[in-house]
Symmetry: C2
Subunit: 359 residues, 2 copies
């Protein structure tokens, strides 16, 4: 049984990636979760994964309703939840916060004090319950967006939900939230789509030169187009404002490149560099300096274990690991990221145990 104020039951409406992940997280914490979804296939999958149960016919009222449906139907689902569960606090996990609130106000929904919006920054290019994980929210920012009529109790309960998932609550107004995600999520997604769209027309053979850069830039563009058209449409004013700024700067860029104006081009590139350093480090902390140690590892089950055992024996803490696997080769390349002052010690230690490092 959970120990905090949030004891459940929690009704999760919508068994997609976010709803199912939340159900898994809360179930593991001992909070009773009831699931609903208009798609019987999604619902069956989520139930099968252990993300919750169907609400019994005779049941105590839910303490909290979490609306995790597509953007277009969030407003009406919130209204339904506030009406049908008159004692519950109601939140949602949608990507836009002002639109649904305006809908509730326009329709004079009852119980608006019990509604507090939320938005975990934990989507991915994958979707649906099969991509769900109880770890999805761990360490991610989760916007909590009270409006002027939200009760303090409702806000506190939603903040507790966020903390229980391991996410970091970021409190802001619905309007601030929408302008923030236009910049940090919707604009990057749309520009990634434009870059990826140009790849479709590539002459034969040209994409053989694709490196890590274009993969990184375009990764998010693989996201579900129907979901994203709803998100972008729902946040149109803020998105159009930023797209207009990008268009103006694109015109400047085209002029600079076509006329060979290097100073203007450099200024645009320098502003980009400044932007990359403006992003806070993971979990809000400063980015940690690391050094990379490269090791060749034969592609057998036991070898990676042996490498980590040897790295562990060296006493060096591994900050991160990247594996570059080539299906056509007998060895993979493993990159171990460690504190810079540990690099030489780890290299020497691994070499003394017979590993092939790349200095």
């Amino acid at each position: 049984m959970a120990e905090g104020r949030l004891q459940g039951p929690v009704l999760v409406v919508g068994a997609g990636l976010l709803g199912t992940s939340l159900g898994l997280t809360l179930t593991k914490l001992g909070v009773p979760v009831w699931l609903r979804d208009t798609s019987s296939e999604h619902l069956r999958t989520a139930l099968g994964l252990g993300a919750g149960q169907i609400a019994p016919d005779i049941a105590p009222p839910p303490q909290l309703v979490v609306v995790a449906v597509p953007p277009d139907v969030i407003g009406e689902t919130l209204r339904w939840a506030l009406t049908h569960h008159p004692q519950a606090v109601v939140t949602d996990v949608g990507s836009i916060k002002t639109g649904p609130l305006e809908q509730l106000r326009a329709r004079g929904s009852q119980g608006l004090a019990r509604y507090v919006g939320g938005h975990p920054m934990a989507g991915s290019e994958r979707s649906g319950p099969l991509a769900a994980s109880a770890a999805l929210f761990d360490g991610r920012p989760w916007a909590v967006t009270p409006h002027q009529d939200s009760s303090a109790d409702a806000v506190e309960l939603v903040l507790e939900l966020v903390r229980m998932t391991g996410a970091t609550p970021v409190r802001m107004s619905p309007d601030e939230h929408d302008r923030a995600v236009a910049r940090t999520s919707h604009l990057p997604h749309l520009l990634a789509s434009l870059v990826a769209g140009r790849l479709v027309d590539a002459p034969p053979g040209h994409l053989a030169l694709s490196g890590q850069g274009v993969r990184d830039v375009t990764r998010v563009a693989a996201g579900d187009p129907d979901l994203w058209q709803q998100i972008v449409t729902g946040n149109a004013p803020a998105v159009v404002h930023l797209l207009g700024e990008v268009r103006d700067q694109l015109d400047e860029l085209i002029a600079a490149v076509s006329k060979g104006k290097r100073k203007e081009l450099t200024a645009i590139l320098e502003q980009g560099v400044a932007g990359t350093t403006a992003i806070p480090g993971k979990h809000g902390g400063p980015a940690r300096q690391t050094a990379s140690v490269f090791v060749s590892v034969p592609d057998h089950p036991g070898e990676l274990a042996r490498l980590f055992a040897d790295a562990g024996a060296s006493g060096v803490n591994i900050e991160d690991v990247r594996i570059d696997h080539d299906p056509g080769r007998p060895t993979g390349l493993v990159e171990l990221l460690v504190a810079p002052d540990m690099e030489e010690h780890l290299l020497t230690s691994l070499e003394s145990r017979g590993w092939v490092t790349h200095r």
Copy 2:
């Protein structure tokens, strides 16, 4: 001593990221490498890393000269190399291939048959000799761009250089190369710069909502602005052509979003999805399907080793590893990527050994 046709000595002109990495790779293979750089600091660093030596006063002529200088000075450095090393094959590792060749032709350079351009797709947002690694080229595409007067012997020697580094040679004409990288490298870089540039003006607190998406989209924009203005300026016609296409589609996008035309917006997003699937899998193979197993791991040196030992004992091959570290917490979250049909077996096996998994 190396066994193939490429015996060296190899003269590497320019001790930045690429030149130093190449020096490290060839030195490890037993090929004698001589280094030159106008920056005595870069040269000292590269020599200290073991990437090669200063050419002795009395020395055999180099078999191969690799020009690894900034784009603006590639043409004149190639000309110098062809003139001063009349028996050597000459190549370069620059990001643009037509401009330097035109410069050589315009100035009637001698020995053009001995020149074959090249371009490893192995840059990164880091630069300079300290970021160098002998593993930098392993598994990466490396364009080899003979022109109509290149001799077959020269082409073969450059192809051998590429293969010795572990890279995959991709042969194409200089013109095709420049149009290809405009699409797969220069356009993504510039659009990433525009997205990153918008982050600079973000109101306080907004960037707290930055997720993995915006980090991925903007990562390349951290690259050296002076290097990139040279690359983009050197490939201006191909870049401007693609930027024009993007601008047209950006106008369509702005119209679709501001007028709520969902079908048009969806079409643009769908084209983006198609683009992401057009990128070939790593090393040209198809992308491998994987499933993710999440495990909580205490943040001590020995724990990761114990996890891999236990994973190894399960007999499951780990395809990739991601570690989500929170400096403020006692545990990290490790994501093990495995073949989908191995997921359940690995989960069960790790749980039976006491690991906390996230199902």
